[in-house]
Symmetry: C2
């Protein structure tokens, strides 16, 4: 089954290319906390952003547009052992789709100012969703990532 999606907007980020995000530098939980950027949604979809400024956090689903190919077992940035790609957040995956949680600073029309930015300039945005209490999980276990992030 094939699923055809369209970009609804673009990311503006201080990271202009992949190499600007140094491996390890942002690995801890708060790594990207202070990195700000913008989500610019195309005018035709802007009305769909109504009410979003009431939420402190949003999910962004985006395309890893610089991803080329994938391996089912991949060596993650944090580690040396190959791991199943679905147990990583690698951009190189069967469907090159990314997911991140951003903090909403403000919205002005079709532009949302955010922090927690970990995407690169020009990243195509696929969807935005509110982060809700159901998305807050406690007492989590993180397998191979244990002790690799603080």
């Amino acid at each position: 089954m094939v699923i055809i999606l369209k970009s609804i907007g673009r990311v503006h980020s201080p990271f202009k290319k992949k190499e600007d995000i140094e491996p390890g530098k942002y690995a801890n939980k708060q790594g990207f906390k202070k990195i700000e950027g913008e989500l610019e949604i195309e005018e035709e979809f802007a009305q769909g952003l109504s009410d979003i400024e009431g939420f402190s956090h949003i999910f962004v689903i985006f395309a890893f547009h610089k991803s080329e190919g994938y391996k089912l077992l991949t060596i993650p940035l944090l580690g040396e052992t190959p791991r199943g790609v679905f147990a990583t957040r690698s951009p190189h995956r069967p469907n090159p789709i990314g997911l991140t949680v951003l903090k909403v600073i403000k919205r002005q029309g079709n532009i949302i100012r955010v922090s927690g930015m970990d995407m690169i300039e020009g990243t195509p945005i696929i969807d935005i969703k509110p982060y809700t209490p159901r998305d807050q999980k406690e007492g989590i276990q993180i397998g191979w990532l244990t002790d690799k992030i603080k």
Copy 2:
């Protein structure tokens, strides 16, 4: 820009059709906690599930395959006031893509047994990602949803 994805597997759920998920019944934070189901990943991608059983929770990105059309302002299940579609989790959105966090019970080969199931039988799976500390947000604000979910 068009993004072409493929289904990597299918959901098996006690909810056989949309109407089996009664509006309101599952609205609280723990609503789907006890609902179990399975993610059946196609054999060609099964190796990518390695290491996933080390994580207590996973994100599933899936297609709302029963969604037809959308409105940028939509009346959510929980409420009477139209809201911007990106401030809701409505299945009727410009890109009919859903996101949920599931608890991993166990994995056997290409099948992951999970709880927290809120999808319907046959839902096409697009991606699976580990839920990590970066996805845990505290002190969140939830705008129009405030007081609507417990």
